[in-house]
Symmetry: C2
Subunit: 375 residues, 2 copies
Amino acid sequence: MELFTITARDGDARAGSLRLTHGDAATPVLMPVASQATVKGVLAEQLADLGFELILANSFHLLVRPGLDVIEQAGGLHRFMGWDRPILTDSGGFQLFSLASLCKIVEEGVHFQSHVDGAVRFLSPEDAVRCQERLGSDIAMVLDEFPGYPCEKDAAERAAARTLRWAERCLAARTRGDQALFAILQGSVWPDLRASCAEKLAAMPFPGYAIGGLSVGEDRPTRAAVVKASAAALPEDRPRYAMGIGEPEDILPMVAAGVDLFDCVIPTRCGRNGRLYTFAGTVNIRNARFRGQAAPLEEGCPCPGCARTPAAYLHHLYSRDEMLGPILGTLHNLCFFQRFFARLRAAIAAGRFAAYAAEFLAGFARPAVEDETSA
Amino acid sequence: MELFTITARDGDARAGSLRLTHGDAATPVLMPVASQATVKGVLAEQLADLGFELILANSFHLLVRPGLDVIEQAGGLHRFMGWDRPILTDSGGFQLFSLASLCKIVEEGVHFQSHVDGAVRFLSPEDAVRCQERLGSDIAMVLDEFPGYPCEKDAAERAAARTLRWAERCLAARTRGDQALFAILQGSVWPDLRASCAEKLAAMPFPGYAIGGLSVGEDRPTRAAVVKASAAALPEDRPRYAMGIGEPEDILPMVAAGVDLFDCVIPTRCGRNGRLYTFAGTVNIRNARFRGQAAPLEEGCPCPGCARTPAAYLHHLYSRDEMLGPILGTLHNLCFFQRFFARLRAAIAAGRFAAYAAEFLAGFARPAVEDETSA
């Protein structure tokens, strides 16, 4: 059985299906982020009820705490967190550079000081594969070198070259047949570097490819251009994953360029903060205009908040700092993104992706009447 | 149809059913506390899934924020909070004395300074009834005078006498036929005052009676003695409610004395703090002994945490201050209390309440091996 089947094409956009060890996932797909083996504030059964088929966990975080021994004793990451559908684990390359207080990269791997206990540790590309094999995720990621942002072109080139060498070592280190290992593309903001890195990775037998080093401060047109150049240089028949993306305005051009997988903390982080997504734009639910709104936040939304309560209730919960506010807000945002992706898949299948994207943006960009004032 | 039907007796203990406007509730019943129109951290549908049939909200808190206008616009408290089963609202007498920074009680009612905006407000017994009628709860409570604790006997006597006069005014103020109004018994720790107050209230046509002024600092034997004297003096055919109770060790003697309703913040507050209830006693889930426990916290518990994940996962979530820890812990504790009350009802129906209570305490009192150490 193929890992990835494309079922519809519309320009460079495509809809398809990933067949993974723990189940299938329809693409384009958004992965909610469960860095610490939890999508913040959401039960595994609620994620399944919302229709999510694939989530992202972070092997670097889990390696540090609670440790791989604990997760192995529990029977692997799926059992540990009570989620029986597919999981993609990130290797931790990005976290090494952003969280470890001392991080020294050598050809063999990365020496780093743990942000938790200060202990000096070492992670090689082989260790990263071994770690993810012990977690038992459906998709593992290679260890890559993120050159930082902004960076000089020669630094980006060196990091991309090392990422290629490490990708080969990761491939050689695999021992599990039930886990797909995806490569990661670097090259910072230079389309020629991205394309050259993509061509070299494409020559290796990876079942999927990620575009890394994004959402680190670059502007939106740059981000879209990098992804477009990268996607065009990657094998057409394999899934493409834009790491850490993103806002709907980012996702649309990337789906148009043929990207299939996304992961983003926006639905959960904004849910906690009270910035809620609707098809008419985002709102600050703490705004006084919601104090007396007897209608739900978004008519027709099947999330528990919109289905059962008025927007005034959400406003009340957030205003009182009640735990249930961020819980319901997170569920609403996840539901919004899930519905958004379902519409993207349907539009591709119907051959009207460009029209749908324009319609969505026309509604979503509607200027919000409110912003910072609060009850 | 009667409000309250007793279906089984075992000594003074009884099992029964409350027939309320929004549905039935089997007694003895524990009401989770939703002071601010939310059981902290729990969705309405999760409460229903756990089998809860009656919850408690606080009209004083809701009167102050979000205000009755907002809740009326939403179609009443049930619609506002998305809960379609019965609700009991407290009148706010206790909160007036404990939260209002200036509180002056006169015969007409209570002048108080809001703890929120400092505004001086006034609440009469008639206002308390009107407020709860606007909320649309199934059971409303009279406005009572809590004399504080500890207090002199003559102060307790004066507060009990005023509570009786206010109870008559509340009865006279009723306008809704679909809401049951319960009286509240005061009298502090003096059984003779409690009994005298109970006899006078019993002569008034209340469909149910609450024993107030408990869990304010008195010791457990005193609390049990007060409740026993109060229950014995109340009409046998009407439901009895011990306000703000409590721990399982409190609940057992009160059920034995014929108490039918309880409300308590323990399941939710302890759930947030990581003190989790099991039939073998309470545990601190942050304790290092749970770090690697691959078995669930309590075998056979149907809560989402125990049903799907090892205790090590709960330990991990609490240790990382992840929102999902307090969520799962609260659900677990609510599930424990719900199972405990189901067993109480079954024991009464089987005529073996005393035996069950002894069995429960023998298991529950098992000394915990752990306490304050944490991973």
